[in-house]
C-alpha cells in the first residue's frame, strides 16, 4: 500500500532541503515527506509517466513546497502545469524561494499559487518559517480532497 504523502518538497539545493527537512522534523512533520530535486521529477511523481491519461489517479500531497530556480523544468513551469490541470489544481502550493523579484511574485499569483514566501537568510528565521508553513498547511488547513 502506498504511503500517504503529506509534504512534497521540490528543491534542487540539497543544503536548503536538508535545512528545511530538519526544521519540519523538529515539529514532527517530516514523516510523510518526499523530497524531489527538480521540476521534471516533480511532474513525473505527480502525473506518472503517462501524463495524458486524465483518469489516472494522482498522488495529492497536503502541501507542495516549491522552489523557483531549478534545473530542467523550473518552479514556475511546474506551478503552471499543476494549476492548469483539474486533478492537481486544488493542491496547495507554496513557493519558497530566494527571489524577491516582483516579476516572479506577480507571475506566481497569476498561475494561482497559494502562498509566496521568501526564504529568510537567517537560520532561525528560516527554520521558523518552514515549520510554521508545515504546521499551518498540513495540520490546520483543510483540503478539498
Amino acid at each position: 500500500m502506498k504511503v500517504e504523502v503529506e509534504i512534497l518538497l521540490i528543491e534542487d539545493n540539497a543544503y536548503d532541503a536538508e535545512l528545511a527537512i530538519r526544521a519540519l522534523k523538529k515539529v514532527n512533520l517530516a514523516n510523510h515527506l518526499v523530497h524531489l530535486q527538480d521540476g521534471e521529477e516533480a511532474l513525473r511523481f505527480l502525473f506518472g509517466n503517462d501524463d495524458n491519461d486524465v483518469n489516472k489517479t494522482v498522488s495529492k500531497p497536503k502541501l507542495i513546497l516549491l522552489d523557483i530556480k531549478m534545473p530542467k523544468v523550473d518552479g514556475l513551469e511546474v506551478l503552471k502545469q499543476l494549476k492548469s490541470d483539474a486533478r492537481t489544481k486544488n493542491i496547495p502550493v507554496v513557493i519558497m524561494t530566494s527571489s524577491q523579484e516582483g516579476e516572479d511574485v506577480v507571475k506566481c499569483y497569476q498561475y494561482g499559487v497559494n502562498s509566496y514566501v521568501v526564504k529568510p537568510l537567517n537560520f532561525d528565521n528560516f527554520s521558523k518559517a518552514v515549520s510554521d508553513l508545515g504546521l499551518y498547511w498540513v495540520l490546520m488547513n483543510h483540503t478539498s480532497y
Binding site: Y15, L19, T97, S98, S99, Q100, K119, L121, F123
Partner: protein
C-alpha cells in the same frame, strides 16, 4: 536744330550744283546751233538768201514746246531775226534783259527771270563765236513750265518742310517755279550761311541762298522751323519711347536676373535654417544649372546637405546600435542581479544554517573559543547577506519608476523615528521635529531616504552622552522644498565629502560604526531620480547636517 542748319546748307549747295549742271546742258544744246554754217555766215554777211537756212536751224528749237521765241542778235545786241515770225512774245526782247546779254561769257548763260503776269520766262543766251570773237548772240526764250506735281516730287526729294525758291541775282524777282512770289526783304547775304526770318505766311523759317552757276539765278531753300522742331519733337518722342521700352526691358531682365539669384538664395536660406533646426529629412537637393558663382554655391550647399544627412543618418544608426547594446547590457545586468539575489544567498543560508546546526548539535563538544569562531562565521554570513540585500535594492532602484503622490512628510518622519530608535532608547535621544511641508514624491522611496538619514543620525550620535537630532525644513528656493536633519554625532571630515555619497564608500571603520556604504548612495540616487539633490556639512566630532530638496511641482 544745328543738324537742321547743316542739312539745309548741304541741300542748298547740292541743289545749286544740280541746277547749275542742268543749265550748262541747256546752254550746250543751244550752243550746238551757233556753230552751224548758215548761222555763222549770216552773222558775217547778213545775206538775205541765207534766211531760209538760218530759219531752219533756229526753228529746230521750237520743237521744244517750252521754247517760245528764238532770236538771233548781232554783236551789238541788235535783233536780226526772230522766230516764230510775228511772235506775240517779241516783248521779251526788251532792254530790261540786256543785262544778261552784257554779262554773257563766251560759254553762254541762262539769264534773269522775266514775267508777264503769272507766266515766267528765262532766256538761254549763247554767243556765236568766230575766231574767238563774238559775232552775234543766239537767244532762246523758254517758258517756265513746271507743274505742281514736279514741285511736289522735288519737295519730297528735299524732305518735309522744305520749300524751294528761285530768284534773280539782283533780288528783283522770286518764284517758287509755279508763280512769282513777293520779293524777299533785301539784305540777305548770299554767303551760303543760314539765316532765320518770318516768311509771308507768318512761319518762322531757316533759309540759305546761293547762286546757281551758269545762270543769273539764286536758289533759296527754306526750312520751316516748326517742322524741324516737330521732327525733332517726333524723334524726341521716339527716343523717349525707345528709352522707355529699353528701361522696361532692362527692368524685366533685371527682375529675371535678380529672381534667378534671389530664388536660389532664398532656397539656401530656408534650407540652411531647416538643417540648423534639424528638419532636414524633407529637404531635397536643389537643381543647379550653369557654372556661375551661384551654382557653385548651390553645388557646395548640396554637397553639404548630403554630408549633413549622411552624418545624421550615421549618427542615428550609431545611436540605435548603442541603444541596443545598452539594452542588452541592461538585460544582462538584470539577470545578473537576479542570479545574485537567488544564487548568492543560497550558500550563505547554508553557511548560516549549518553553523547553527553545528552549534545546536555539537556545542557540548566545542570549547569557548570554538563557539566564538562559529559565531564569527555566522556573523559574517549575516553581514554578507545584508550587503547583498543592500546591493540588490540599490540596483533595483534603477529599474523602478517614480510614482508621485502627495506625501505627509511630518507623519512619515514620525513613523521612521519610531521604527528606528529602539523603544528602550527613545528617552535617551532628544529629538526636535519641526513642522515639515507636504511634498509630491514616491512615498516608499522617500520613506527610504528618511529612514536612511534618521538611521545614520541615530547611529553616528549613539556614542554621545547627549544625543540630539533636529529635523526641519527651509524654504530658500522658489522651485524646491528643502528638508534637513542635524545630529550632534561623530560627523565627518569635509575633506572626504566627495566620497560621502559614493557606493561602498565609508568614512568610518566598521568597528566604529557598522555599515555597508550603500545607504547614502541609495539616498542620493533616489533624490536625483526625483530631480532633487542632497548635500552635507560637518565638523568632525561635533555632528553633521544633511540637506536635501525635492521639486515643488512635477517637472
Amino acid at each position: 536744330m544745328q543738324a537742321g542748319r547743316e542739312r539745309l546748307k548741304n541741300l542748298t549747295e547740292q541743289l545749286g550744283t544740280m541746277f547749275g549742271q542742268s543749265a550748262q546742258s541747256m546752254i550746250k544744246a543751244t550752243h550746238a546751233a551757233t556753230v552751224k554754217k548758215p548761222v555763222q555766215q549770216y552773222l558775217l554777211t547778213q545775206q538775205q538768201d541765207l534766211h531760209p537756212a538760218v530759219q531752219h536751224e533756229l526753228e529746230n528749237f521750237l520743237k521744244d514746246t517750252s521754247t517760245t521765241l528764238v532770236s538771233l542778235l548781232d554783236k551789238h545786241f541788235k535783233p536780226l531775226l526772230s522766230f516764230p515770225a510775228n511772235s506775240q512774245h517779241n516783248f521779251l526782247l526788251t532792254d530790261s534783259v540786256l543785262f544778261s546779254l552784257k554779262t554773257t561769257s563766251q560759254a553762254g548763260i541762262i539769264g534773269k527771270f522775266y514775267h508777264a503776269g503769272d507766266t515766267m520766262y528765262h532766256p538761254v543766251i549763247v554767243p556765236v563765236m568766230n575766231n574767238k570773237l563774238p559775232t552775234g548772240y543766239l537767244v532762246r526764250w523758254r517758258r517756265v513750265t513746271t507743274n505742281p506735281k514736279t514741285i511736289q516730287q522735288l519737295s519730297g526729294l528735299l524732305g518735309t518742310g522744305a520749300t524751294l525758291f528761285f530768284g534773280n541775282q539782283d533780288g528783283s524777282f522770286w518764284t517758287d517755279l509755279l508763280k512769282p512770289v513777293a520779293p524777299f526783304p533785301a539784305g540777305f547775304k548770299q554767303d551760303k550761311e543760314v539765316f532765320e526770318f518770318t516768311n509771308q505766311a507768318g512761319n518762322d523759317v531757316l533759309a540759305t541762298i546761293r547762286p546757281v552757276s551758269n545762270t543769273n539765278w539764286l536758289i533759296m531753300v527754306e526750312f520751316s522751323k516748326q517742322k524741324i522742331l516737330s521732327s525733332i519733337h517726333q524723334s524726341m518722342y521716339w527716343i523717349i519711347l525707345i528709352g522707355a521700352v529699353l528701361i522696361i526691358a532692362g527692368m524685366i531682365i533685371a527682375w529675371f536676373i535678380s529672381r534667378s539669384i534671389t530664388k536660389p538664395l532664398n532656397y539656401l536660406t530656408n534650407a540652411a535654417s531647416a538643417i540648423a533646426s534639424g528638419n532636414d529629412h524633407t529637404l531635397t537637393e536643389m537643381t543647379v544649372r550653369g557654372n556661375d558663382e551661384l551654382s557653385k554655391l548651390g553645388q557646395a550647399f548640396n554637397y553639404m546637405t548630403r554630408q549633413v544627412k549622411e552624418s545624421r543618418q550615421n549618427l542615428e544608426y550609431r545611436i540605435n546600435q548603442r541603444t541596443q547594446q545598452l539594452q542588452a547590457v541592461n538585460k544582462e545586468l538584470e539577470s545578473f542581479s537576479y542570479s545574485v539575489s537567488h544564487d548568492l544567498r543560497a550558500p550563505l543560508r547554508a553557511i548560516n544554517g549549518y553553523s547553527n546546526i553545528l552549534e545546536e548539535d555539537y556545542s557540548s563538544r566545542l570549547d569557548k573559543e570554538g563557539l566564538r569562531l562559529l559565531g564569527v562565521i555566522r556573523q559574517n554570513a549575516t553581514r554578507m547577506g545584508t550587503l547583498i540585500d543592500d546591493l540588490l535594492s540599490f540596483s533595483r532602484l534603477s529599474k523602478q519608476e517614480i510614482k508621485r503622490q502627495e506625501v505627509d512628510m511630518h507623519a512619515m518622519v514620525q513613523e521612521c523615528l519610531a521604527e528606528i530608535i529602539p523603544q528602550d532608547l527613545q528617552n535617551s535621544y532628544q529629538v526636535t521635529l519641526k513642522p515639515l511641508p507636504k511634498c509630491l514624491c514616491d512615498k516608499s522611496m522617500i520613506r527610504q531616504v528618511w529612514c536612511n538619514l534618521i538611521g545614520n543620525a541615530v547611529k553616528y550620535s549613539s556614542q554621545k552622552k547627549e544625543k540630539c537630532i533636529e529635523i526641519g525644513s527651509s524654504n530658500d528656493d522658489p522651485h524646491k522644498q528643502t528638508y534637513y536633519i542635524i545630529d550632534n554625532g561623530a560627523g565627518f571630515n569635509m575633506k572626504y565629502s566627495d566620497k560621502l555619497f559614493g557606493i561602498f564608500q565609508r568614512l568610518h571603520s566598521d568597528t566604529e560604526f557598522e555599515g555597508t556604504g550603500v545607504g547614502l548612495a541609495l539616498v542620493k540616487r533616489i533624490l536625483n531620480k526625483h530631480d532633487g539633490d542632497i548635500w552635507a556639512q560637518s565638523t568632525p566630532g561635533l555632528g553633521a547636517t544633511f540637506h536635501f530638496n525635492l521639486p515643488k511641482s512635477i517637472p
